[in-house]
């Protein structure tokens, strides 16, 4: 490339423009190098896909055999007594749904604030920055934080602490998608509503939310998918419970924490249950992700 940049008079005598053979050799070398790089990139992509396939295959291979009706109908029991995962599944559902229910309205309002009230204000930029940091902050720290404010002062691990920890993880996810989706709405739509006399809050609720509904719902689904598999924050908050319990003030079982406890155990039936749980949670999370993607597709 650089030969075209220099002044014509200083072109070397054997440069590509003069010597056909050198030109051919250079061009062959460049093309050959290009092909090698492309092959390496294809290899990288194949490795990525093989890793995904390996994870899914391992889950199916170890999980399907361990799956049975007893997984859904019986609670966790001591090793050797044919327990299931019922309390863990129900505990996970309760905490995931409650966490989403607490976190979504907050995230929605923050997203609204960033898009409709504070597009370029200093406070708005600070909130956006902090929310982005929270989005990627290690979830184990959220668990430690909730431990210090809800578990230590109240003298015990509780389901409600688990819900709050998950809610804190939900907030930045919903903030991000809500803001992005509200920003896509054309200003003319808002102006039209204001022109017929609608106050701002009704414009936001009746026009903007409705127009961005698909996107916001996608964000909520992704948030559910993310927190459903969270383990670390629950270790310090809801702790896990080997007995059937729906009380939010008591330690509460959850699928990821049960998997964590069972997978490292020395009992074959517990390890099998861990694989069954892992299969359930992974395919649930992946299904939610795929549904979210399909929902968003027609508009984008």
């Amino acid at each position: 490339m650089s030969t075209t940049m220099g002044p014509a008079g200083r072109m070397p005598a054997s440069g590509p423009t003069r010597d056909r053979r050198v030109a051919d050799m250079l061009s062959r070398r460049r093309k050959w190098f290009d092909r090698v790089v492309q092959a390496l990139c294809i290899a990288a992509t194949v490795i990525g896909l093989v890793l995904l396939a390996s994870i899914l295959f391992t889950l199916l291979w170890r999980g399907v055999g361990a799956l049975g009706l007893h997984v859904f109908t019986r609670s966790t029991l001591p090793p050797g007594s044919h327990g299931g995962l019922l309390n863990a599944i129900v505990g996970s559902l309760v905490q995931t749904l409650a966490g989403t229910a607490i976190g979504t309205p907050i995230g929605l309002m923050v997203g609204t604030y960033l898009s409709e009230y504070a597009r370029n204000s200093v406070l708005g930029n600070a909130v956006r920055f902090v929310s982005d940091v929270l989005l990627s902050a290690p979830s184990i720290l959220i668990g430690l934080f909730v431990y210090t404010i809800l578990v230590e002062p109240f003298g015990g691990f509780s389901g409600i602490a688990g819900c709050v920890a998950l809610a804190i993880i939900v907030v930045p996810i919903v903030v991000r998608t809500t803001e992005d989706m509200l920003r896509l709405i054309p200003t003319e739509l808002r102006e039209a509503a204001v022109a017929v006399g609608a106050p701002k809050w009704r414009v936001i609720v009746l026009i903007c939310y409705r127009a961005a509904l698909d996107g916001i719902a996608t964000g909520i689904l992704l948030a559910v998918a993310r927190v459903a598999g969270e383990t670390a924050p629950l270790l310090f908050t809801s702790l896990g419970n080997l007995n059937w319990s729906l009380s939010l003030t008591q330690p509460m079982s959850s699928l990821p924490v049960t998997i964590y406890q069972y997978a490292g155990s020395a009992f074959d039936d517990w390890v099998d249950l861990a694989w069954a749980g892992a299969l359930l949670i992974t395919f649930g999370v992946l299904a939610l992700n795929i549904v979210a993607r399909v929902m968003l597709r027609p508009r984008s």
């Binding site: 790089v37 609204t112 964590y260």
Partner: protein, 318 residues
């Protein structure tokens, strides 16, 4: 028409303005709540870790003892393990992620990009506990039976670096943890890189192709220089993930509080020691305070990394 009773403002405007004020207040307080939340996380971890910082001073950061019986705690080994595994994971993940992003933006046929891109993104959605189990039951045996003996044979006697590849091939250890972490952060880095590569105006690339550039030359001379800051931002995002990852690492790192001399040696990270030691710590004990102090250190490290990443990826709100 000029009837005196015609209101200047539409009917119900007072209710509307009350509603407006209320809604604006709710939105603003939600925004402020996010700021309060982050401050509260930092403050609570710092305050709870304070007894430990007081007892051990700055030595806490470098001391390698972790002895619950003698009540002596130091963060040296976990900090070392956290940084080493995360950096090793980056070294493994970045080339692969770059290749995937390059393939998805320039090489793959257009109809093939979406399904492959989605598959890579799904890899990012798999919960970390699943990576832990997969690492423990699939990767650890492969590492112990094949990879580690192979590396010892080939590199164990090389001067200067040979010691890194010696030691008993248990399968677990620093290298395995870095490998599993790399698999976990590849999709994040690849997806970010793909998105920023796609922001390059097509006319730049077409001009280069028009001059006779190969695909690789377009990538190296046009796309990468144009997106350099965002690419580094994406890598930092991956680093942030790797630093704080808990479950996957806990399964495969071997969990020993000793600075390993070999890549095959067991170690620990801040997140793994917190997850493992926490259940055995009493409320108010120096050990619990030390664990929360570790949490504070992890928060500071990841905050810096994530802040840099965000600043480099900034154009989102432009």
């Amino acid at each position: 028409m000029s009837d005196a009773t015609l209101p200047l403002r539409p009917a119900g405007s007072r209710a509307a303005s009350v509603g407006d004020r209320f809604f604006a207040l709710a939105a603003t307080s939600a925004g402020v709540l996010v700021l309060v939340l982050l401050s509260a996380i930092i403050l609570s971890l710092f305050v709870e870790g304070l007894p430990s910082f007081r007892a051990f001073g700055l030595n806490f950061l470098i001391d390698t003892d972790w002895d619950p019986v003698q009540e002596v705690f130091g963060a040296g080994v976990p900090i070392f393990g956290t940084v080493v595994t995360a950096v090793l994971a980056l070294l493994l993940a970045v080339p692969l992620a770059f290749g995937i992003a390059f393939y998805l933006t320039e090489i793959a046929p257009a109809w093939f990009r979406r399904p492959v891109g989605t598959a890579i993104e799904l890899l990012a959605a798999v919960p970390s506990i699943i990576y832990g189990m997969w690492g423990f039951f699939v990767i650890v045996p492969i590492m112990g039976d094949d990879v580690q003996p192979f590396l010892t044979d080939w590199l164990g006697d090389v001067p200067w670096i040979g010691f890194l590849f010696q030691g008993a091939p248990f399968g677990t250890g620093i290298l395995t943890a870095a490998l599993v972490l790399a698999v976990m952060i590849i999709p994040f880095i690849a997806a970010t890189m793909r998105d920023v590569f796609n922001t390059v105006p097509p006319v730049f690339k077409e001009s280069a192709y028009g001059l006779g550039c190969t695909t690789w030359e377009v990538m190296r001379s046009i796309v990468v220089p144009y997106t350099r800051a965002s690419v580094v931002g994406g890598i930092m995002l991956g680093l942030g993930r790797a630093l704080g990852e808990t479950m996957a690492v806990t399964f495969v790192i071997g969990n020993t509080n000793r600075i390993p001399t070999s890549l095959f040696g067991p170690g620990n990270t801040i997140a793994s020691i917190v997850a493992l030691e926490f259940p055995e710590s009493h409320t108010g004990s120096l050990k619990l305070s030390s664990l929360l102090a570790l949490g504070f250190i992890l928060f500071v490290i990841s905050f810096i990394v994530l802040a840099i990443s965000r600043l480099l990826l900034r154009p989102r709100s432009a």
